[in-house]
Amino acid sequence: MKNIFTYAGSATGVNHLADGRPCQDRSYAGEVEYAGGNGRAVVLLVSDGHGSVEHYRSDIGAELAIESALEALPHILELFDSRMPSDGVTVSRGVAAASMLSKADDSPVDPLFESTARMFFTRISALWSGKVLGHVADNPLPEPSVQGPAHPYGCTLIGAAVTDRYWFAFQLGDGAVAGVGVDGRTLTPVPGDSRCRHGRTTSMSRHGASDFRYGYSTELPAALMLCTDGISDCMPDAQALTAGIIGPIAEAMLADGSAAVSREIDAELPEMSRAYGGDDVSVALWMNRSALPDVIEALRAQNIAAAFQGYTTAKRELVNTEKSIADIKDSLTANMLVVDDIVDGCWASYDADADMLRENSTLSSLRSRQRQLLDDLDTILLSIENFDRTPSDNQSAGDVQSDTISDCDTILDIDL
């Protein structure tokens, strides 16, 4: 494949820097050779070592996960290559156990691909376990782990391989795989897993082949991105993820060229960690430069849509918060009238005073949240202002912003 841009990078989270933890993310982008097709595939990988204290070797676990995937990939690509139909096919499969509530488990099942994919995941898991045990043998754990020797090495693994005929993505644990189709559509090839949310994730140290999710397609995308939860958890959905990150990179690449963009992403990743919650951040990217000019307008439109959504969400919460503040103020006023009528020193007086003090505490918390939301709204508006939007018709960027916010408020009027 020609005119392809790839990138992989990780940055240590600002929280990790603050408390002396290493970067526990790993990322990779490169070519893998295999027997079949034209014999080469671009491979993207990211792995996120769990951040808690008991996973104290998770950075090594992440490194070993990347190694394991690279070792296992050539064989699976060879098998996929011989079995992939030539006509258009797109499949998205969740975890093997139906009880695990993966959203896309009802997608078409090709038993041959399913068994091949599960075999691949079994191979990755086995390789990873072997490498971990080897590392433990050379570097004994300071004390035995009741949850097994691999527990300190716990990590996630997300990968993708793109050949000239098809692409294949897989995931165990949190993080995200997202892409942009050649028509500008957002692609979410790997279905979700209800076990990966609210600070929880499936793990290489605890889960196996049946817990991987995957997707493949013979329709090559314009761009594909893998990222760890340091980024994906801070985006509302895949569309915001692709438009907000792939979009600006695509524009910068067309303007500056690949080498400059790689440096720019390197510089931006620590900023993302600072802005997005302090965790390690990793991105791996595959982009077809030839297809980008056709999708940039769609990505811009999605950015505006994401801004609508972000603004609406924050505004709605602000309205609710301000309503709660008003309710408490009313309650406090009413309570003061009641307290005046209660004889001092009785329990009723004590209870009324206690309720007022609690209301004041709640009020203070709500005001803090109100200030935070107002700051959030300012940030969103600033993002819109900074978004280098070239008006596609005779409308100015200022008009677009004004329309956007006006539309948001209209939506709010309807929904509230």
């Binding site: 990790h16 008991e54 527990h151 600070g199 140290s205 801070c234």
Partner: protein, 255 residues
């Protein structure tokens, strides 16, 4: 051109919601239990503030408190950010309407005021402290509560205090309440027979749960296990009985 990633949503810190269900029935007046509870709740505020400011994953801690005597009461109408939280003493009187407390908790766990739009919330923690036999009706409300997805994945810790609460029937209630559901393998039930230890147990449990809850764990079992290990390690002496169901062991409390 400078690369400027478009950030449609301003970054916000994650939320750890901690819910306290506190028995304020008349029997809590015995042996100054209610005073100890009030004192402990005051003491945990600076502890949780420290956890919130120092935690690794930038999590804000929000507190919700429900007292239950003859009726249950939401002490603070919205969850309160720990930095703004001020504990106001409660007093003890009346019966032990645990069912009403479960119902209020369920309502609060369904409210948008509690979890906003759901993104960025960590698993919640629910800490229940009681000294006696609950009134009838708790089972239906607990069954209802256990269908709430936020409750299902929350850390659930029951702390019972005093001789009445050692009764098998009370322990059965706590056992049901502390069923992990989607939160791992361990039933976290603690019985405090030495009433002078109520405050220290509540403080320690709050501290451990907030520290574990604000981290990113590979599995709920690991997180709950971490809490169990910490509590076991802290309270080895007499006066505090720990009842855990560690992975693979089918243990139920027997008194």
């Amino acid at each position: 051109m400078p690369l400027n990633f478009f950030r449609p949503v301003a970054a916000t810190r994650r939320h750890l919601n901690m819910f306290y269900l506190l028995d304020t029935s008349g029997s809590m007046n015995n042996a100054h239990c209610i005073q100890q509870l009030n004192s402990a709740m005051r003491d945990i505020v600076p502890i949780l503030r420290e956890v919130s400011s120092a935690n690794r994953d930038h999590s804000d801690i929000y507190l919700s408190c429900i007292s239950f005597g003859t009726e249950a009461k939401l002490l603070y109408r919205n969850p309160v950010l720990i930095d703004k939280f001020e504990w106001i003493d409660v007093r003890a009187e009346g019966l032990t309407n645990l069912g009403a407390a479960f119902m209020l908790l369920n309502e609060q766990m369904k409210s948008r005021k509690t979890f906003g739009h759901g993104d960025g919330n960590l698993r919640s923690a629910v800490i229940l402290m009681t000294d006696g036999q609950p009134d009838s009706g708790w089972q239906e409300q607990l069954t209802e509560l256990q269908s709430n997805p936020w409750f299902r994945e929350a850390f659930k810790i029951a702390i019972t205090v005093g001789p009445q609460a050692a009764h098998p029937e009370v322990q059965d209630v706590m056992w049901h309440f502390a069923t992990p559901l989607d939160a791992g393998d361990d039933h976290l039930v603690i019985h405090v027979s030495d009433l002078a230890r109520i405050g220290s147990v509540l403080r320690f449990v709050s501290s451990v749960v907030s520290r574990v809850g604000s981290q990113n764990y590979g599995s709920p079992t690991a997180a709950t296990g971490q809490i169990a290990d910490a509590i076991e390690g802290e309270f080895k002496d007499e006066g505090v009985v720990l009842i855990f169901d560690r992975a693979g062991n089918d243990r139920k409390p027997h008194y």
